[in-house]
């Protein structure tokens, strides 16, 4: 125990001395008080409704620069990140292959009545916050990923407070969650391919994941709906990602909350060795 303290203190002092020496000798130079040119470009163009200049062909029409980068400027990047997420869940499902539905048990499970009532009150608020984060993703910090993670908290709460059987009681099977997650992925694919379909039908040039009109392409998603800024594709992609991420996590936490005996019965695994 004492040895680990000595290691910790010596590590911190080495870092301190190194940092002091670096600062004193000026090896790293002065701290830049300015962002890079690329960052300035992103910030200036993210919401630029100026129709008089050619800048309007580069804007994403979203006041939130991070969402604009995630789903417009670097949309294909995010598409592949979603693929990584998809593959991680598919791999987890492969380990648990054969288990499609969770059995339900009505009594003798979960925590005390106080915890259960408080959790029942918290869950609607949690859903409201998650949907709000997803729908306002193009206006305020947040978006599909964060909203999905916020909604996934409910699955953990259900598993801990009401036990793993509560998913079956709510009619929330693994196959249903997988179907909802696939719906989210299909939504992303639809929004990605819509400009192409429009281009083929109308005979104009369009791009994959196109949000706002380009110099050589007149296609643009509706930027406003009922007087509200929805930033074209961004709100739809955020909602689709919200579905995909939240129910992906639902699947994983449902599988994690399964009883060990059930899993061993399905997987045909003995008790070790």
């Amino acid at each position: 125990m004492r040895r680990s303290y000595i290691v910790l203190i010596s590590l911190i002092s080495v870092i301190f001395v190194l940092a002091y020496l670096t600062t004193y000798m000026g090896i790293l130079g002065p701290i830049s008080s300015d962002t890079r040119y690329l960052a300035k470009l992103f910030l200036a163009l993210t919401y630029n409704p100026d129709t008089s200049t050619s800048l309007r062909y580069l804007t994403a029409m979203s006041p939130e620069a991070v969402t604009a980068i995630v789903w417009d400027y670097r949309g294909i990047d995010t598409f592949y990140e979603t693929t990584v997420f998809f593959m991680a869940i598919v791999s987890a499902l492969t380990i648990y292959r054969g288990i499609t539905n969770i059995e339900s048990k009505t009594q003798g499970s979960g925590l005390s009545i106080i915890v259960r009532v408080v959790t029942k009150l918290l869950i609607p608020m949690n859903i409201a916050i998650a949907v709000s984060i997803a729908v306002h993703g193009h206006l305020t910090p947040g978006g599909g990923f964060q909203a999905g993670a916020a909604l996934a908290v409910i699955s953990v709460l259900l598993a801990v407070v009401f036990s793993g059987y509560s998913f079956g009681k709510l009619g929330m099977g693994i196959s249903k969650a997988v179907a909802l997650r696939s719906m989210g992925l299909l939504g992303i694919a639809t929004v990605t391919l819509l400009p192409l379909i429009y281009g083929i039908v109308a005979g104009v040039q369009t791009y994959l994941m196109q949000n706002y009109m380009k110099v050589d392409s007149p296609f643009t998603f509706p930027i406003y709906a009922w007087g509200q800024l929805i930033s074209g594709t961004l709100i739809w992609l955020n909602l689709a990602e919200f579905l995909a991420v939240s129910f992906g996590f639902f699947v994983i936490f449902m599988l994690l909350s399964l009883r060990e005996e059930t899993v061993k019965k399905y997987l045909g695994v003995g008790d070790g060795h």
């Binding site: 590590l11 870092i15 940092a19 002091y20 670096t22 600062t23 790293l28 002065p30 701290i31 830049s32 008080s33 300015d34 962002t35 690329l38 960052a39 300035k40 992103f42 910030l43 200036a44 993210t46 919401y47 630029n48 409704p49 006041p63 939130e64 620069a65 991070v66 969402t67 604009a68 980068i69 995630v70 670097r74 990047d77 990140e81 990584v84 997420f85 991680a88 869940i89 791999s91 987890a92 380990i95 648990y96 206006l139 305020t140 978006g143 990923f145 964060q146 999905g148 800024l229 991420v245 996590f249 994983i252 599988l255 994690l256 899993v263 061993k264 997987l267 695994v269 070790g272 060795h273």
Partner: protein
């Protein structure tokens, strides 16, 4: 010791601390035999790298990259926003990396659970000696 020196020292100290955290977590992944500790070290590595990415995009006395005024916006507002906000690109990369990292970590936990079910241990030294 003037304020400029102190500011620079604190930034460099934070940077070195992050690099040391990355180093310690890589040590944890490589040298610790227990799989649970490897996964914990991996999560620390991921978080440290995310903080490093945010750290590189930071600049002193700045605002978040969110434009709050959208209905009546002028050119001056956009110029002011572009010159005072932080770099949004590292934030965009970290935003997705956190959720993807969570999913990958959960997958690793599933693998570890399965290893425990099959072999009855999570010690990688013992797993190496087992057969079948």
């Amino acid at each position: 010791m003037d304020t400029n020196f102190l500011e620079r020292f604190l930034v460099i100290f934070a940077l070195y601390n992050l690099l040391a955290t990355i180093g310690v977590s890589i040590y944890g992944i490589v040298a610790r035999p227990h799989i649970t500790k490897k996964i914990i070290a991996l999560t620390i590595l991921g978080d440290a790298l995310n903080v490093l990415a945010i750290f590189l995009g930071f600049k002193p006395s700045s605002i978040p990259p969110v434009l709050l005024k959208t209905d009546t916006i002028s050119e001056g507002d956009i110029i002011k926003f572009a010159t005072s906000a932080v770099d949004p690109l590292p934030q965009a990369l970290v935003l997705t990396a956190i959720v993807i990292g969570l999913a990958v970590n959960l997958f690793l936990i599933f693998l570890a659970l399965q290893i425990f079910r099959l072999y009855g241990t999570l010690d990688s030294r013992k797993i190496r000696e087992l057969r079948g």
